[in-house]
Symmetry: C2
Subunit: 701 residues, 2 copies
């Protein structure tokens, strides 16, 4: 268990500060100051060989001189002295260490060596280490501030259910301040710095296990260990703890030159994006979004079961605005049943009653309208959540209290349905709503997005309640150690259960003609060579051949073209293949991500992939349900349905193929470079899919 021993970091009974300063503004003085000032209940031991007393506390010349046990030691010393300090901690039996000092792996090779030494000492001693080069950690509930961030002096966080894990100290401390400004209560806070021992994944897993953590907010620049990272995400998801992640680096274009066509589409940010979604993580696209999503999870009370959203408003215009945004966010602003609409219309003839329900300014004079409307909304409309937009009414104390009492009644009558009170409010009134279990936003679009977040997590958690087994493949075929021609490639894929077209490798044009006769027309002729990846580009493919003569002619032509364009290519012969019945063309691919290993890609062919990069990714392996969700992400998915005269396509067969491919890819994480199935012909519903061409590239040795 990678979280073992981390209690010493976040719930110590005693804390020593090595390099403690008498000046509370200095880095070594701040943790002493904060621990005292904010009321840490355990023992505080300043370590400073030059002083008897530090900030009013008895100081010790060394960690070894401390009389009692020390759970956590904070090291605030230059890098050159930090290694010795860690060694002293190990001797003392300290269980957790936080190292502020910079000048390690982030600096140079010498620093990296020092850092490695620290990791060795810690491992041997069974001691957990956060840092070096970090801003420290905090446990707000325990008033434990093992940090030198001055941000808490500006705004001290209140205890609550949100834990923050940040790879960046500056970002982590910014988040802490923002959380205070937003009234979001914090539980644990960890900045992981150089991650010599405890890293982002460990901290995330620890927060997931921690009973006081309800929501996790993460800032990530890059994970280091695939399995621990994904395990931590799964753990949080399986425990029903939402993870809201800010992963920066969207604009970084993957630098590695890509060999295969598939690889050229796989920027590593796109892979992160897919992985986070696959593991049920909400990826925020702005700091506001991160805070809003976190707030919604912390204050929302429950997640949404479906997208059915009720909207109540005092402004028809804002009602439309919210409905617009709800649709954009995939929520369902379904109309109220006719009977319910009639009931509302009777009570307020000029009101909008369809949903959004516009109670108009009249509500202010006739407050029972709100209760009646809300009761009908939840009682007859079967909505999973509601937003009550009240413009600036929340600023009027007397009205505000009346509204809250009504909404509390409704909440009691219809529990488990997230409700947003959307209005300008004074902070103290906002707090009253929040204490009663409502989310409060002053901006209607953000209110809608908050519900969309609760729906995202509702879906993510529900998706993983039912098993999504991996397909069974009798014997997973070996990977060839060198490039193979397309016939061999397809044979390998066929063993995994993928459909392939009927085809034969002919040595000569005459053999090709005979083979064609045997397979049946129409026929496709292609050059067979492990060295020629883009056969069409050199004239190495001829379609629509309907006679033996034409096949023989075409075979001659592709041999000539290949010899002309790539005289050094190894030529295995000519592929004579059954021309698949016309269908929709898709592309399936596998690439090898430096972090995540084998990744499966799906796209529909042609311009969608080439000009728009309309593709979806998943980390291998995955089941068919996940494959269906993957297919759903494609912008051009309309083409898979019944569309402009064409029949609906066999989407289930595509999902099966993706899932099988993912199992095959995952079985060869180190040796498979890429697979490119292009095109996969997708037949009508029930007719399955066939790979018409395939390339498998092993990792070069």
């Amino acid at each position: 268990m990678r979280t073992q021993g981390m209690d010493a970091l976040f719930s110590p009974e005693s804390v020593a500060v090595i390099g403690a300063s008498g000046d509370p503004t200095r880095i070594g003085g701040r943790p002493v100051d904060y621990l005292k000032r904010y009321g840490f209940a355990g023992a505080i031991y300043p370590i400073n060989p030059k002083r008897e007393v530090v900030q009013g506390l008895k100081a010790y010349p060394s960690i070894g001189a401390v009389p009692g046990p020390v759970d956590l030691a904070i090291i605030a010393m230059p890098a050159s002295l930090a290694v010795q300090a860690v060694q002293d901690c190990a001797l003392k039996g300290v269980r957790g260490v936080v190292i502020f000092s910079s000048g390690f792996a982030e600096m140079d090779a010498e620093g990296a060596a020092l850092q490695a030494k620290i990791a060795d000492i810690a491992r041997e001693a069974g001691m957990r280490v956060v840092g070096p080069n970090c801003l420290g950690i905090a446990n707000i509930r325990k008033n434990l501030f093992g940090t030198f961030t001055t941000s808490i002096e500006q705004a001290l966080p209140q205890a609550g259910g949100v834990s923050i894990v940040s790879q960046s100290g500056a970002f982590g401390s910014f988040c802490l301040q923002l959380a205070v400004h937003r009234g979001i209560g914090i539980n644990l806070w960890a900045t992981t710095g150089n991650s010599s021992d405890v890293d982002f994944a460990d901290s995330l897993a620890y927060c997931a296990e921690d009973p006081n953590t309800k929501v996790i907010m993460g800032y990530l620049e890059g994970a280091t260990d695939r399995d621990r990272f994904l395990d931590a995400l799964s753990q949080a998801r399986d425990l029903g703890k939402p993870v809201v992640m800010m992963k920066v680096g969207r604009s970084e274009v993957g630098a590695d030159a890509a060999q295969s066509h598939t690889a050229s589409l796989a920027g590593s940010d796109a892979i992160y994006d897919a992985a986070l979604r696959q593991y049920g993580v909400y990826r925020a696209d702005s700091v506001d979004d991160m805070l809003d999503a976190t707030y919604a999870c912390a204050a929302g009370g429950s997640f949404m079961n479906s997208g059915r959203t009720g909207l109540v408003t005092v402004s028809g215009g804002v009602g439309v605005l919210m409905a617009d945004e709800a649709e954009a966010q995939g929520l369902d602003v379904a109309p109220l049943p006719e009977s319910a609409q009639a009931k509302l219309k009777k009570a307020l003839p000029f009101a909008g009653v369809r949903n959004p329900v516009d109670v108009t300014a009249q509500m202010v004079n006739q407050m029972d309208l709100l209760e009646m409307n809300m009761d009908v909304l939840f009682g007859e409309g079967d909505y999973d959540a509601a937003i009550i937009f009240m413009s600036g009414v929340g600023l009027i104390k007397s009205l505000n209290d009346q509204i809250r009492i009504i909404l509390e009644k409704i909440r009691a009558k219809y529990p488990g349905r997230p409700m947003v009170f959307c209005s300008l409010t004074e902070p103290e009134d906002r707090k009253l709503y929040e204490d009663s279990g409502f989310m409060v936003f002053d901006e209607p679009t953000r209110a809608v997005r908050a519900l969309a977040t609760l729906r995202f997590f509702g879906d993510a958690f529900r998706n993983h309640e039912t098993p999504d087994p991996l397909p069974e493949i009798a014997v997973i075929p070996d990977l060839p150690s060198t490039m193979v021609n397309e016939i061999e490639a397809k044979e390998i894929l066929a063993k995994t259960g993928l459909g392939i077209v009927r085809e034969v490798l002919a040595k000569t044009p005459a053999e090709a003609a005979v083979a064609a006769q045997d397979i049946g027309f129409p026929i496709v002729v292609k050059i067979a060579s492990p060295d020629i990846l883009h056969k069409s580009d050199i004239g190495g493919v001829v379609l629509n051949l309907t006679s033996k003569e034409a096949v023989q002619e075409a075979a001659k032509s592709v041999l000539a073209k290949a010899a002309d364009a790539m005289p050094d290519a190894k030529i295995d012969g000519i592929v004579v293949a059954q021309q698949a019945a016309p269908g929709l063309e898709a592309i399936l691919g596998v690439t090898r991500d430096p972090l995540f290993g084998p990744v499966v890609m799906f796209g529909l062919g042609g311009v969608l992939v080439e000009a728009l990069g309309d593709v979806a990714f998943r980390i291998a392996p995955f089941g068919k349900d996940e494959a269906h969700r993957m297919i759903e992400e494609i912008h051009g998915k309309k083409l898979l349905g019944a569309f402009r005269g064409a029949a609906a396509r066999d989407v289930d067969a595509v999902a099966e193929a993706l899932s099988r491919l993912s199992v095959f890819a995952a079985a060869h994480p180190e040796t498979l470079d890429s697979i490119d199935i292009n095109p996969l012909i997708v037949g009508e519903v029930g007719k399955g899919v066939v790979a018409a061409d395939a390339v498998i590239i092993p990792v070069a040795k």
Copy 2:
């Protein structure tokens, strides 16, 4: 001039309140209270036949009894009495009227008749009327509050350069409150209600002309008069006044069943979206976005000349986040020149110096670093704007003041470059920055978007500085009054200067074969019928014909297929057409929008249009520059450039064709229903475009 006489509304010397109440909480009491309380300098005349004194002011039994002239009358009476009140105002010589009362056109036909009467009276008397069914107007600079919105009691707006025009009273009053909360100073405020006389466009034009208005914020549900609406937008743009618009109704799917293929893609919200962009209006997608964009224009000092953006940060992570967002918003985070980077690196060896420039927390201890960095950024980096991200440092008074003084120096040295101070701040410190010409945001993503807004307007205003003449078409061809076949349709379009393929209408298969010989192979054969729009769907098109025999055969076939599929269709014969050299296929279309009239559409063919709806619209007519901007909006535009082996396409010829089509369409606003040119074959650069098929549909009589 539609704004004539509106000064009486917004700058009256005297105001009468008809239906004035002694109770300042009643609708008829509030304007009297607000005018008094907030210090309106002119005369206030309460009109109330039952009282001598209203709220301490001498009251008059009727508007006619007021001794002096009355510029503005506010009517707060039931609809049944309002018409008489308007009549009395006209007799008295009142110049402007605001009618709060509801129960008019928004209610029923009777109400609509009353409203028409009011409009008649006003027109005859030369009196301007706002409302009925509105929340009124305000001129903050003059303490004129001709409104009953209680929102101003919660938060009184400060005078400033932003004017607000809202079709919705509730939304307008919400905006006013939000503006106060954001510290945005307001100039004029108008809610237009039922718009019996003064409407959204008039109010917008008035704000554009008003010298104290710097920025216009609009809330629009739907414009009523194309020309006045577009004229008002042009006027604002030509005067360099940014218009930030919230136009709701995005999710409303156009209800009209669409006849032609093109029309089915033209939802009316898409047309609004295009029209606003075409006229240089920033369309906000949320209330925050609306406020942020407005704030940026009001506080930014100037617009951006290009997208070159410098980023300075105390957090590397936030630097990456801002760079991500900048790229997403089309800003250019270009690197500093090498020499400048070296200079910065020398001053702070562990800093990021490329851009974003990471001054790290070290800056706090070494404040001159900031000045040096900023000086190098603007002096050597040639950026048009900069964001300075300071996390929570802005909350530390002493540091905050130091930073501001440094930034003020930089600002003086490099004027005309928008600068954002991005940090948590206390409101009073924020104000100091704003007074010095900086924008202040606490959220880095929003800071980036604010600059993108300033770039949007910079581009929009610059685009319209240079003329974009309409192409000259010798004689604009008449529109046929009934459906014509495709040959006739193309002939009409050819007269406007559009390229068309060489083709002939043959009466019989034999004639077709002869014609084909004359035109030259390869040939396309198509059924010619004004009744068959989707010829391919019925097998009415045969491509790639390379002999007379094949043409004759194909002609027979399409005739047979047409007779089979649509036995009642009028058949004109067979189109025998030169098969255009292979090129990229595009779709050009014209539809008739209920508000905007003829609208031109552009898309690239195939799945881009069919499955993704990847199309762009423009209101006709427009010049070639605008057409180029239109083409740039297509997601698949990559296909027009040199792409995967294909040569770059003749984009200029496409722009020319779009512009010419727009002139033709604009010449027939009432009689042209739609045009569908599909496909337009786009040749390589310099090779032009040809329409391979066209349908023109006149409005049914």
